[in-house]
């Protein structure tokens, strides 16, 4: 392709030289040469020539280097070059650019303050979450957390700390963690749990179903309860927005998150229902068995055998203190699967087993309403939350952010979309909306969104109606966390120095030539031409 600028410069130079040659006079040759030089220099300036540069072998980068500076340095470095990092080190993104180089770190003195902090960027309404962290300090000091409602908790520590938070209202909230004069604000999006769809099949009436139905209904979901009254009579009760129908058809089961088989429930399932249930479990449906007698069935993968009766147990949730009220256990024990719930003394209470994409759970606690009757309805709700939580069908797709990720202006932030995710997502920042493409993640079910927040405040990422909101802090916010994270990352990279022979060779780069000489020659030539016109 013809560079028209260069061509024009050449044509101008040749024209000027021809004009000077044809002009009579004693300085004809000198003038012609000056015209040719001027034309050539104009062509050179228009061409902007480059030259090949071999990679460097050693460079020092300070901890205040911007990502662009690191990227430029990485491009100039040879494959076996050594990069010396000073100060508190570089962040993960910068170190990623230097992954093929040897990193040497000359650390500065370790700072004090909050060295680690992780919290759920997205919490569920009513579900206990934890704000964990660690401080680097010479002596014990108080760490405070200020809740959005004005309440305050504190702990005296010189190392790790943890605060529990139970979100009480949906929305976007901020907790402030204080250590000495420093304060770190953490933003949490509190979202209500999705409305569940449950079915309850039982061989005789029980109180448990009505309690669970009320819980499901209060959460906006629905529960279909089918109770065998006599050999020929059943009672169907719909709690909340329960699904239509009372026979377990594939269509009905497809819309359910879990099905609870209450006492005697296995015996009242028809052959078609059992078959449909098996298929649904394979495709992700959760089943919870309340086992009170020795029983077997198509969707009962555990072995059940008799056990001594009249045993009572106490439980504790979320690492909290034990609940005072003891509940009775059914006189059975189960074989197979994994025990995932035990009493405070270690008695197995619930088992689970994965079948296909679904999970089957079985428990010996068949009367959790004992807690409610004893004035502990919150414990009963927690029991169902844990039990059904282990079995319920996982959401199609969900956003995930590392708990220790810091969202700051002009710093990259990685957000994962796990599940059946689309290829793009909507970003809402400062009232403006834009689309970003999601990159492929480490596995087929994970996609990655890389955000570069530009403003402080809340940034939202949405796909298929599922929106995650992340609180963006100022560029220089969380200084102690930033320093500690860079030190950890740099230290880790330094300890796994790459083998220079295995690193891919860095191709020589090309740099532009300095063209000051062309400018000088052009000025001289033009001056000569101008002088010719004088007396």
């Amino acid at each position: 392709m013809v560079n028209w600028t260069i061509a024009a410069a050449g044509v101008v130079g040749v024209a000027m030289a021809a004009h000077a040659w044809h002009a009579a006079g004693p300085r004809r040759i000198r003038t012609t040469i000056a015209a040719l030089v001027a034309g050539a220099m104009m062509a050179v300036l228009a061409w902007r020539p480059t030259h090949e540069v071999a990679g460097r072998n050693r460079v020092t980068i300070g901890d205040d280097a911007a990502l662009a500076d690191v990227e430029a340095a990485a491009m100039r470095l040879a494959a076996d070059a050594e990069v010396t990092v000073t100060g508190h080190g570089l962040d993960s993104a910068s170190l990623g650019l230097l992954s093929s180089h040897r990193i040497a770190w000359r650390p500065s003195a370790a700072p004090t303050g909050v060295a680690a902090l992780d919290w759920p960027h997205r919490a569920v309404l009513g579900e206990r979450a934890a704000v964990r962290g660690a401080v680097a300090a010479h002596d014990s000091a108080w760490v405070f957390i200020e809740h959005p409602d004005g309440a305050r908790d504190s702990v005296l520590t010189d190392s790790a700390f943890q605060f529990g938070i139970v979100p009480r209202a949906a929305g976007t909230w901020q907790w402030v963690v204080r250590h000495g004069a420093a304060a770190d604000t953490v933003g949490v999006q509190v979202a209500p749990a999705p409305a569940p769809q449950i079915a309850w099949i039982e061989g005789r009436p029980s109180r448990e179903a009505s309690v669970l139905g009320a819980l499901v209904g209060a959460q906006g979901g629905g529960m279909l309860q089918r109770t065998r009254l006599t050999a020929s009579a059943v009672r169907v009760t719909r709690h909340g927005a329960a699904p239509e129908g009372n026979v377990l058809t594939p269509d009905l089961l497809r819309g359910l998150d879990a099905i609870v088989i209450g006492p005697g429930g296995l015996t009242v399932l028809g052959a078609g229902e059992r078959s449909a249930l098996r298929t649904a479990v394979d495709s992700g449906l959760g089943v919870v068995h309340l086992v009170d007698t020795v029983t077997t069935g198509a969707v009962m993968p555990f072995g059940v055998r008799a056990a001594p009766g009249d045993q009572r147990v106490r439980v504790a949730f979320d690492g909290g203190s034990a609940v005072a009220v003891a509940v009775p256990l059914a006189p059975v024990t189960l074989v197979g699967g994994e025990v995932f719930l035990r009493s405070i003394t270690g008695v197995p209470l619930a088992w689970r087993m994965r079948i296909g994409r679904g999970v089957v759970v079985a428990t010996r606690v068949t009367q959790p309403s004992r807690w409610g009757l004893a004035g502990e309805p919150a414990v009963e709700a927690s029991w169902w939350s844990v039990l059904l939580g282990a079995a319920m069908r996982a959401p199609r797709a969900e956003w995930r952010v590392r708990n220790d990720a810091l969202a700051r202006v002009d710093h990259p932030l990685m957000v994962q979309r796990v599940g059946e995710a689309g290829d793009s997502a909507l970003v809402l920042e400062g009232g403006a909306a834009s689309m970003i493409a999601l990159a492929s993640g480490p596995d087929s079910t994970t996609k990655l969104a890389r955000l570069w927040p530009r403003d402080t405040g809340w940034i939202a990422l949405a796909q298929d109606g599922d929106t995650i909101r992340l609180h963006v802090a100022a560029r220089d916010a969380h200084p102690s966390l930033d320093r500690a994270a860079r030190r950890r990352a740099t230290s880790a990279v330094e300890q796994r120095r790459p083998d220079p022979t295995s690193a891919p060779p860095v191709p020589p780069s090309r740099e532009r030539l300095h063209l000051w000489w062309a400018w000088a020659a052009l000025v001289l030539a033009l001056a000569t031409l101008w002088a010719r016109r004088g007396p």
């Binding site: 009513g126 949906a170 929305g171 209904g217 020929s232 009372n246 994965r354 939350s385 844990v386 939580g389």
Partner: protein, 667 residues
């Protein structure tokens, strides 16, 4: 003026000036303090305290640094070198020649020169105090008034029809019910606590309003009537806590006060506490049949009629009869204005008591509440008139145990057998007395075990592994080795006092068995009697439970309703269950979400709904916190953008912790 007069005049002038300066300081401080106290809602008379403090300081300063002619002379020596340090000569009477000459020179110098006046000591401090006081006082007058708790600020002096609509002042007063004998009162604040049934009156100053309403949480809106120039008033009886605010209106303009609370102190019924006798008393028939019953009675607003109710229970088994008699009581002692001690000597014979009867005594007291007084009753005193000759019959308190008569006869039989053995031993006959004693001891052992079941004692012969059976694969913990005696399984239906008696009987049986099994029947006999007495006492205590069991359900014809293989009326049905209790706090949750959006009509409507819910919460308790949030919410609705964060905090704090959600948590 000669020198002596000059010194005297100078000292007087300085003292006068000093007194004036401090007088100004004291007055200024007093006035400023009074103004400040009034502005912050305290009594202006507190300004006198401040003035007294300054006056005391002034007195101390004046006394500690007196100004005399010597002080003036020293000052002149300091400022006039030509006096050659001789000014003090003017004060003396040194008649030496040199002294007179020098005195003359000093007088001449003083006459010729105009000496610099002596500075007034302490005057600068006094003037500083006065200046500060004036500045503070002026600032207190000039700055906008903070809202006093009993008034609602508005521009003063604007009473014309075109003046801005405002509620200038609200006052709450109330008249307690007459029976409380308490005077009407005016509250210094707008959140008041009144006696139950009080008539509360609101006085509002809203001179520019054409209509004023009192809006209460009971959805009642009372139109206030005019009372004087610019004044409005209304009253209502208050029996429950009421949240209220005042709305003044003129044409389309509205002015609204903050929400406030009228709490109600409930009139409690009288409180009775029996001093004597103990709750259970046994009297043997030969003992005097007089019982002194005393009780401490108190009430929050004064006591009305009091009496003692005596109930006599006679008979046994199903044939128990009750007779009730009301006895007057005497005032024995006053303990403060609202408490008295009353007593009554009860002659059991006058109640017609015979051996084996029980007398139940209970004090009753009424308060002065009108129109219907509240009546309370003390705990019951059980007096048992012992009948030692009565043969035991089988009846345990409150529960029906068919085997009970056998228990009593067995203990009696053991005593009979033991006495027979002892008689035979005394007469030198009876064969193998040791074996007979051991046999009786074994009977005592069996009897003790059977009674032990009633109080949940350990049973013998059961393997420990049966009681502590648990999962073989479960880890062994400390809990496994602990034996909880207060578990539900060990609990029985017996009352605490009956259990105590049973345990006493069992303890005596233990002793009797020990002696019998070692062949010492003589030592065992007293323990056998003690055991029998304890069992007798249990039997006598049974009547107290007989009366409490009032309802006897009709008998069920089992043959007609069960095991007939028919289930008529049972058919398949479908029904829709309610979602349970409605989420009353939903308006608060909605408002929290709406607060994240810019101001709009839906947001305001949501905040109004949250305010209604907060008002309900304030009536249920923690009024102060919720009222603060309510006031902030009102200001937010009026356009205070800075109030949003505080409202959000307050609304969030008002929410209870929701139950754990049902959601997939993953493996």
């Amino acid at each position: 003026m000669n020198g002596d007069a000059f010194l005297a005049t100078g000292a007087t002038r300085v003292n006068r000036l000093r007194l004036m300066a401090w007088t100004v300081a004291v007055l200024s401080a007093g006035v400023a303090s009074a103004v400040v106290c009034r502005r912050i809602g305290l009594s202006p008379w507190l300004g006198l305290v401040d003035a007294a403090l300054i006056a005391a300081t002034a007195a101390w300063v004046i006394r500690s640094r007196p100004v005399t002619e010597h002080t003036v002379a020293a000052h002149l020596d300091r400022v006039m070198p030509e006096l050659e340090e001789s000014a003090t000569l003017l004060l003396g009477h040194n008649e030496a020649v040199l002294a007179r000459l020098q005195r003359a020179r000093v007088r001449a110098a003083l006459t010729a020169a105009q000496p610099e006046p002596l500075p007034v000591p302490g005057a600068r401090t006094a003037l500083l105090i006065a200046t500060l006081a004036m500045v503070v006082g002026t600032a207190a007058v000039a700055l906008p008034a903070t809202r006093a708790s009993d008034t609602i600020a508005s521009p003063a002096g604007l009473t014309r029809a075109d003046a801005p609509l405002a509620i200038e002042r609200v006052r709450v007063r109330w008249a307690p019910p007459a029976y409380t004998r308490r005077a009407s009162r005016v509250s210094p604040t707008l959140n008041v606590t009144v006696e139950e049934g009080s008539t509360v009156t609101w006085d509002v100053a809203a001179p520019t309003a054409t209509m004023v309403h009192l809006v209460t949480s009971g959805r009642d809106t009372l139109a206030m009537t005019r009372a004087g120039a610019g004044g409005w008033t209304t009253s209502m009886p208050v029996a429950r806590p009421v949240l209220w605010h005042v709305v003044a209106s003129r044409d389309t303009a509205r002015a609204r006060s903050d929400d406030h609370l009228v709490s109600v102190s409930i009139d409690h019924p009288p409180l009775l506490s029996v001093i004597t006798p103990p709750s259970r008393l046994s009297i043997a028939w030969p003992e005097p049949h007089l019982v002194d019953a005393r009780a401490l009675v108190s009430d929050d607003h004064g006591l009305g009629a009091m009496r003692l109710v005596a109930t006599v229970a006679s008979g046994r088994g199903e044939g128990v009869r009750f007779r009730e008699k009301v006895l007057d009581v005497e005032l024995e002692e006053r303990r403060g204005p609202l408490s008295v001690v009353v007593m009554r000597r009860v002659n059991l014979d006058s109640l017609g008591v015979i051996p084996g009867d029980e007398v139940l005594l209970a004090f009753e007291a009424a308060d002065r509440r009108a129109p219907v007084p509240q009546v309370a009753r003390s705990e019951t005193i059980f007096i048992t008139v012992l009948d030692t000759v009565d043969a035991p019959t089988g009846e345990l308190p409150g529960i029906s145990l068919r085997v009970e008569p056998a228990y009593f006869r067995s203990q009696r039989q053991i005593i009979i057998d033991t006495e027979s053995l002892l008689r035979d031993m005394r007469q030198g006959r009876g064969g193998d007395t040791l074996r007979r004693s051991m046999d009786i001891g074994y009977d005592q052992h069996l009897l003790r075990l059977r009674y032990g079941q009633l109080v949940g004692e350990e049973t013998e012969g059961m393997g420990a592994e049966e009681e502590h059976a648990h999962e073989s694969d479960a880890p062994v913990t400390e809990e496994d080795f602990r034996h909880n005696h207060d578990m539900e399984e060990n609990a029985t239906l017996l009352g605490a006092s009956v259990k105590t008696l049973l345990k006493r009987a069992l303890s005596a049986m233990w002793e009797a068995e020990k002696h019998l099994r070692t062949g010492n029947a003589r030592a065992a006999l007293p323990w056998e009697y003690r055991s029998l007495e304890a069992l007798e006492e249990i039997r006598r205590a049974s009547r107290a439970y007989v009366k409490r069991i009032g309802f006897e359900p009709p008998s069920i014809d089992v043959a007609k309703t069960r095991l007939t293989k028919t289930a008529t009326g049972l058919a398949s049905l479908a029904r829709t269950a309610g979602v349970g209790g409605a989420d009353l706090d939903a308006p608060v949750r909605d408002a929290l979400l709406m607060l994240e959006t810019p101001p709009s009509a839906p947001r305001n409507a949501s905040l109004e709904a949250a305010g209604v819910r907060l008002g309900e919460r304030a009536l249920q308790g923690e009024a102060t916190r919720h009222l603060e949030t309510l006031a902030l919410l009102r200001r937010l609705l009026d356009g205070c953008a800075d109030c949003a964060a505080a409202v959000r905090r307050g609304l969030l704090a008002a929410l209870p912790v929701p139950p754990a959600p049902l959601r997939a948590r993953g493996w």
